[in-house]
Each structure stands twice: as C-alpha cells, then as structure tokens.
C-alpha cells in the first residue's frame, strides 16, 4: 500500500472578492465583467468569508490576499476587514487604487495590512486609461496612492509593460517616487483571457525586448532611483545576486500552500478558475475546506509532481526548484497540461535567448529517464 502523501500547510488564501470590476483592463487575465451603477455583479458574502477563514486557520493559514475584480469595490469591504482584524489574519491587497479613500486607507492599516499594490500602467492619463478602459481612473488612482501614503502605507505600484507604455518606464518611476510609494514592479502581459488578444494584436513586447528591458531596469535604472524596482521575468533570467544576495527577492512561488476563493464562493487553484472550470475544486458553501485541501486530485497531482514533472525547457532548467514553472495556471490555460513549460521560457529557448548556464543540457542525468516516464500527465 502506498504511503499517504503529507498535506502541506494552507499558508495563504487568495480571495477574488468580486465577480465584477470597475475597470476594463485590456490585459486582464481574469476578465471580470465591468460593473457600474446600473450593472451589478455578486461579491463573496462576508458570512461565508468568515467561515472559510475559520476553517483555514487550523490548516495553517497565516495570510490572505484580497484581490478581484476589484476588492475595494466589495459592498461590505468594511465588514471583510473587520473579520480579518477579529481573526488576527494579516493580509495584502491588490487594487486599482480608484476606491482608496482616506477612510478605506485608515481601515486597511488598522486591520492588519502588510502589503498593498496599486496598478498604474502609464505616467499620463491617456496611456493609463487606454490600458484600463475607463475615463478618469488615472487621476483617481493617483489620489488613491496619495491617500494610502497619508495613512502610512507605502504601496507598491505595478506597471504591466506593453508596446503602448514601454516608453514611460522612467517617467512612471519618477512619478511613483514623487507620490511617496515604496516600489515598482514591472509585469509582463500573460497570454491569458484578454491578454491573449493583446498578444495576437501585436500590442505586447517581444521576448528579446522583454529580456533587454529586464537587464536595463535591474542593472541601469534601479541604481539611479529611490524606490526598489522588481521585474517579473522568470527566475532563469534573473541574476543570482538579485535572487539570493543582500535584500534579495528569491521569488519562490508559494503555489503549494495557496488556494483561491472566487467571488461566487468556489474554491479554485487561483483566479484561473474564472476561465478554466476544471481548476475549480469545490463550493465553499457546501464543501469542507479541509476535505478539498486534502483530497482534491489536481492539488495532489501538483504536490506530487512539482517541479519534477515539468516538461520542455522548464524540465531542463536549473532554476525549476525555485521557479516551479513560473505560473502553472498560465501553463495549464495555454496547453491543458499542468506540466507544460512557461510560454516566455519556451519562446526564449526557441530564439536561442535562454541563458545557457541555467539549462541542464550537457550535464549528467541520472534521474532523467525516470523523469521522462512521469511526464505528460494532464489533469482533466
């Protein structure tokens, strides 16, 4: 009889609090419907939110992420924050900043917030609002950042890089410095949901350009600015010093200890459950969280196979123990195979741009044969 695999602690829950969103971002990987005064969409009911938190604590819960949609658009966001306060769970927030009023900012601080990021995709209104799809959201986001800073929060600004805004990197960093934010993270448009359309329309940056931008930001721009800069390319493209040096950011993905909760109360791998039904694992209103966390077949497949079963360039990458395939949700979305390689690394490899020192090629491979046999296992 095979020994039961140990169940890892459930460290973090990602709450996608609202099904709708107040913006219409053209690169969004979740693709929520646009919510306005006349069109409303469901949000996670606070009573269910509390029951999930209470069930998760004995499983190891130590933090929560509030995201969306737009988490601060939740009609009972004050009640959600008070539950986190009462349950003494620290949390981080991903927001577009538009609804960060002074009152909300103060409430976040007193409720246990430890990190908050605001999306800003341009240093001027025309660019940001072209990306975000709603007039007036640039000024609102800047005011939101000012309100957060006034409350004592030093938010991280996230800029998703694309052809339209690539010329504004430096001006955006200077703007962020002037606002008093703490850091800037540069994201890459993922070919998921609306991001697919951007890739197909040629509105995204090519792999060579993205690699060169990463080097420029980390080596040339970062030493000249006051805020910390992070560039979200996969581990194979990051210098070891950036990952493991002083104040390094190793970027190890916490996927083994994370579970998503969607706005409709479903458990899912993460927000990918909004667009990939087979990555929805249960209904929080009916299913016990401990059962889902322990028994779900996909979660167990990930626990048993990651990173060993990763395929293609990810299987051959020396950083796979850190990177874990970069984003298995994205990899699955693209291929319906949990172990498929990350698109960025695969394209870089085809173009001869994958760093040679990070590939297993040419090294002895005592476990290679076993690994091949276990490959190509898909989840349905």
């Amino acid at each position: 009889m095979a020994a039961a695999r140990p169940v890892p602690p459930l460290n973090t829950l990602y709450f996608y609090l609202t099904e709708g969103c107040n913006l219409r971002c053209r690169h969004c990987w979740i693709e929520p419907p646009h919510q306005s005064e006349t069109r409303q969409f469901p949000a996670l009911e606070p009573g269910l939110f509390r029951r999930i938190i209470v069930q998760a604590k004995p499983l190891g819960l130590s933090s929560v992420k509030l995201t969306g949609g737009e988490p601060l658009m939740h009609p009972q966001i004050g009640e959600i924050l008070s539950i986190l306060r009462e349950e003494k769970i620290r949390f981080n927030v991903e927001t577009n900043g538009v609804l960060c009023t002074p009152e909300v900012a103060r409430d976040l601080v007193r409720s246990g917030l430890y990190h908050l990021s605001v999306s800003l995709d341009g240093s001027d209104a025309a660019t940001h609002e072209w990306v975000r799809g709603v007039k007036g959201c640039f000024g609102a986001a800047l005011q939101g950042i000012r309100n957060l800073v006034a409350a004592g929060i030093r938010p991280q600004v996230i800029m998703t890089l694309m052809r339209r805004n690539v010329g504004q990197i430096e001006t955006l960093v200077r703007l962020v410095e002037s606002l008093g934010a703490g850091s800037v993270k540069f994201n890459i448009v993922q070919p998921t949901a609306r991001g697919v359309k951007m890739h197909e329309a040629g509105e995204t940056l090519g792999i060579r350009e993205l690699i060169e931008l990463g080097r420029w930001i980390e080596k040339d721009l970062a030493p000249t600015v006051q805020v910390r800069l992070f560039y979200s390319h996969p581990a194979a493209f990051r210098t070891l010093g950036r990952m493991f040096g002083q104040n390094g950011d190793c970027g190890i993905c916490g996927i083994r200890g994370i579970l998503g909760v969607l706005g409709n109360g479903s458990y899912a791998l993460c927000g990918i459950g909004e667009t990939v039904p087979e990555l929805v694992f249960g209904d929080a209103a009916k299913d016990a969280l401990a059962d889902v966390w322990r028994d779900n077949a996909v979660l167990n497949e990930i626990r048993g196979g990651l990173p060993r079963k990763l395929d293609g360039i990810c299987g051959d990458c020396l950083m796979k123990g850190v990177c874990l395939g970069s984003c298995i949700a994205q990899n699955y979305y693209r291929s319906r195979n949990l172990w498929a390689p990350f698109w960025f690394c695969e394209e870089a490899s085809k173009l001869g741009l994958f760093p040679e020192t990070r590939v297993r090629k040419g090294l002895p491979a005592t476990q290679e044969a076993a690994r091949r046999e276990e490959r190509a296992c898909t989840c349905r």
Binding site: T239, L240, G241, M243, F244, G245, P307, R308, L318, M319, K320, G321, V322, T357, R358, R360, L363, P364, A365, T366, Q367
Partner: protein, 97 residues
Amino acid sequence: MDVKNPIANPLIVLREEFDDWAILFDPDTGNAFGLNPTGVFIWKLLDGKHNTDDIVSRLCEEADDVPEDAGEHARQFIASLEQQGLVGYEVIAGNPA
C-alpha cells in the same frame, strides 16, 4: 591525529556566470544552489588539499575588507555544503596525538 580536509563532491557541477556568481547543480537530486563570489572562491579550494584555515588565509590574501569572523562564516558555509551532500572530507593520516 587525522586531519580532515573538505573536498567537493565530484558529481556536483559549478556553472559560473558573468557577474562572478555561480550555480551549484546536483544532477542526482536536481537541486540547484546559488553561490556568491566568495562562495565560488571557497568552492574552488575544496580540493582535499586545503583545510578550512588554509581557505580562509587564501581568502584574506586575495580579497579586500575580509571581516574578522570570516573563518566562522567559512566553516558554517562548508558545513551547510556537507549537509546538502555537496562536500565530503578527505582524511589525511597524521601523527598520533
């Protein structure tokens, strides 16, 4: 007394990069480890011919601003390599104590 000199596991691969950092890769387990430039310097002296004091002396000769507690750090580093199975010891028979 026998002397134990640390020696790198010959199966482990060192991949040096442009910025003097390097990856240590264990093909047997698939584990990879990042080494900073000082770690790389020490790794190259784990040849069974140098003991830890020799290695620290070489470090002091070749590097600037070596801290006073470098010897302790070097010992801890080598011990952590040993724990990971990346380093063993070559026992050199000496005179009885």
